[in-house]
Symmetry: C2
Subunit: 438 residues, 2 copies
């Protein structure tokens, strides 16, 4: 347990601008029994516990509160089992997402969920937020890869959920309930996850430039509606591209308002890519490149993964995360652009466009611990629009602290009552990550 | 509301041998408001309610209890929306599973989950049991296709869960919690489900005959481990084939101990089928046929879909449903055969083998309302073996009444406490399908 205030502070933050409270201390758990001991002690003394992976969250789910214990799982890094025959792995929560993927690749498999932070984020954090990523347009989100969990409950009891098999309906779906619950129901100390076959050949990648963001979004809707089944379909707006260009000099042309990056990893990847190319051209792309070269593809996707750090250089960021039905993506993009103009705020948007999952990033002055009112006003407008269009407040980042102000717009009173009831079952004293998620 | 005892009795049973209790009456709900009215009344009078779709369940989940109201949803058959652009449908619970699939096919889409009963089962029943099926080896189970639900709670409150988008993490995963909860937490009155692209070309199908059941199971494990990604991989043992042959004369050879039926619907389906053919031959298949002909494929799968009705002709059936990790399928098959010999019981096994999901069907004398002790003893042994091998008690049929005797072997006390707590949140009076599922 670390109690030095400066050290503790570094475990008190995630990647948001939110100023954390002062924790009592930080427990760096090495194994399940230490998690049990921590939670028993916390229950006995009614001390709030804020569980934490690598702190790469974007919604304040791991932000420490005053007087809490931060319970970090990042030292529990064992991959306990990897079974190629059953296509599963059993891992501790501190395993880095990309490390599990690499371990699986050695057997012709992959761990599909790949949030942009996957080189630094942990499986436990991914489970807590039901993280998405670039590949989930084809392979689903973290919940779709979670088969079973070992969870320590608030009072120290150890609960095993789920199974090692690909199917199973014994009892209620407790695994799914814990995934995305942001540490408010228990602390995950082990996960059995599903692996998938890695594609045999390198993917075919396309990059398309558009003079209009709306056109790019229309191309996305068309690609989905045509059944091209991309394994990745990302959209970057001019603001995002400019931020990356200013940093890494990617040779951005003045006329480019948006870029789509798409991939197919199907066995007929080139055909699929050619169909996507044609649809981009039909929807006004000014330039489309198609490549089967793995290094070129990695470079393009590398650009995409820079989107967030590039924006952090410009200012403090409120990173938003709505998801809309894919057919209304062009409408949502139009509304985001309009809100930026109306409220005079700077919004750079990057999107897992194939899922309808948009990340409008509101940029404001470095050093501010709270976005200016105009940012909140624009965000509020955008969220209401997303809901009106049949969307949701968060596609993959979670609710944390940041989304709670809008939660009741989406959930409604009955869902809130029910969720409070479930919270009460698992954590009657309310010590687990209080004030988050619900 | 129907109260004639003979009519009510026909709504009191599912497809198990279980003798139901005498319901007070049967409500044939036409819409959500009638479900609300029924549940409010039931809450007021503390009357148990047994929700019901088409009654095709195989675990007693819809078996009526004495003095209950049977609440049938089978008249709520509207497909309210089908959006090809967003690849979703919004349906009432009484929609026949295959009808939704056909409606989707008209737009180049499909509804993937296809339990063997899919021509007569309802979406609501499929959701209640988290039904699987033949295609779920590639496309997942019902939960993987459920995005959002409208649910009437025990006291008549209406809860909306989930969303219309493909991703979303707002609040706890209530959708997943209701799927597979067998009507014990609420009554589903509407579902938003995910549709998938239907394959463009007809699948390639293989049928392989084996002189040993263990060899056939070994071929299955090899096919999965080799990453062939079949869209269907079914195993039928000799007892099953014989029952079908006696009924429909399929020309079964005396030497055939097992048959595998596999399909690939990938764009390189023929390659995948050829790889599966080679693996079957390596594992001792005596005969393998490969065909790209759609009519032949339909015929073969038609044979598979006869497995259960063919066995019902032989006697009363205890249909079991364990799921094991796919690598241990041969061991599980061996143990089932040994248990049949040891206890002198007749077991015919059919399996969604690609998922490790086995249906050993115990056949006993027609007219008995309870299997003889030897059947229970053999079943008990087989379940304990499945759990020892890392498996689960039920892959897709649910717990209902039939599996409750083994439930605690799998769930353990903490999971049971937690599940009882969740039940209490949704149904504090315990009127919803009492005695089922947990």
């Amino acid at each position: 347990m670390l109690t030095d205030p400066d050290v503790a502070d570094s475990y008190a933050r995630d990647r948001t601008f939110l100023e954390p409270g002062k924790p009592l201390g930080v427990v760096l758990a090495q194994n399940r029994d230490e998690v049990v001991a921590t939670l028993r002690w916390a229950t006995e003394h009614r001390i709030p516990v804020v569980p934490r992976g690598a702190g790469t969250g974007l919604a304040g789910g791991a932000t420490a509160t005053d007087g809490c214990i931060v319970l970090s799982l990042h030292k529990m890094t064992a991959i306990r089992e990897l079974s190629p025959a059953d296509e599963i792995a059993v891992v501790e929560p501190g395993v880095i997402t990309a490390d599990l993927d690499r371990a699986a690749r050695a057997h012709g498999l992959m761990y599909a969920p790949d949030p942009s932070s996957f080189e630094i984020s942990t499986i436990g954090g991914n489970l807590a937020t039901n993280a998405g990523g670039l590949r989930c347009v084809k392979y689903g989100v973290t919940r779709d890869s979670a088969l079973g969990l070992e969870v320590v409950l608030a009072d120290g009891r150890v609960l095993n959920t789920g199974r090692r098999t690909v199917k199973g309906v014994t009892g209620y779906d407790l695994t799914g309930l814990f995934v995305g619950s942001e540490g408010t129901l228990g602390v995950i100390t082990q996960a059995t996850v599903r692996l998938r076959r890695a594609p045999l050949a390198p993917p075919t990648t396309i990059a398309a430039e558009f003079a209009s963001l709306h056109d790019a979004a229309s191309a996305v809707s068309a690609i989905i509606a045509a059944g091209c089944q991309p394994s990745l379909l990302e959209l970057l707006d001019r603001g995002t591209l400019k931020a990356i260009d200013d940093w890494k000099n990617i040779g951005l042309e003045p006329s480019v308002a948006a870029m789509l990056i798409a991939q197919s990893d199907a066995t007929d990847a080139e055909n699929a890519a050619r169909r996507m190319e044609a649809l981009c051209e039909e929807h006004g792309a000014s330039f489309v490149a198609v490549s089967g070269d793995a290094a070129e593809a990695e470079e393009l996707i590398g650009i995409r993964r820079l989107a967030y750090p590039a924006k952090e250089r410009l200012g403090a960021c409120l990173v938003e995360d709505m998801c809309v039905p894919r057919s209304v993506l062009p409408d949502m993009i139009t509304e985001i652009e309009a809100a930026a103009v109306r409220h005079h705020v700077r919004i750079c948007t990057v999107a897992h466009a194939g899922d309808g999952n948009l990340h409008p990033v509101f940029i404001f002055e470095h050093g501010l611990t709270e976005p200016p009112p105009a940012v909140w006003a624009a965000a509020d407008e955008i969220f209401r629009t997303a809901l009106r269009l049949g969307g949701t407040l968060t596609g993959e980042h979670g609710v944390g602290l940041l989304k709670r102000r809008w939660l009741s717009l989406e959930s409604g009173p009955v869902a809130e009552e029910v969720q409070a009831g479930i919270k009460q079952v698992f954590d009657p004293l309310g010590i687990l990550n209080p004030g988050k998620a619900i």
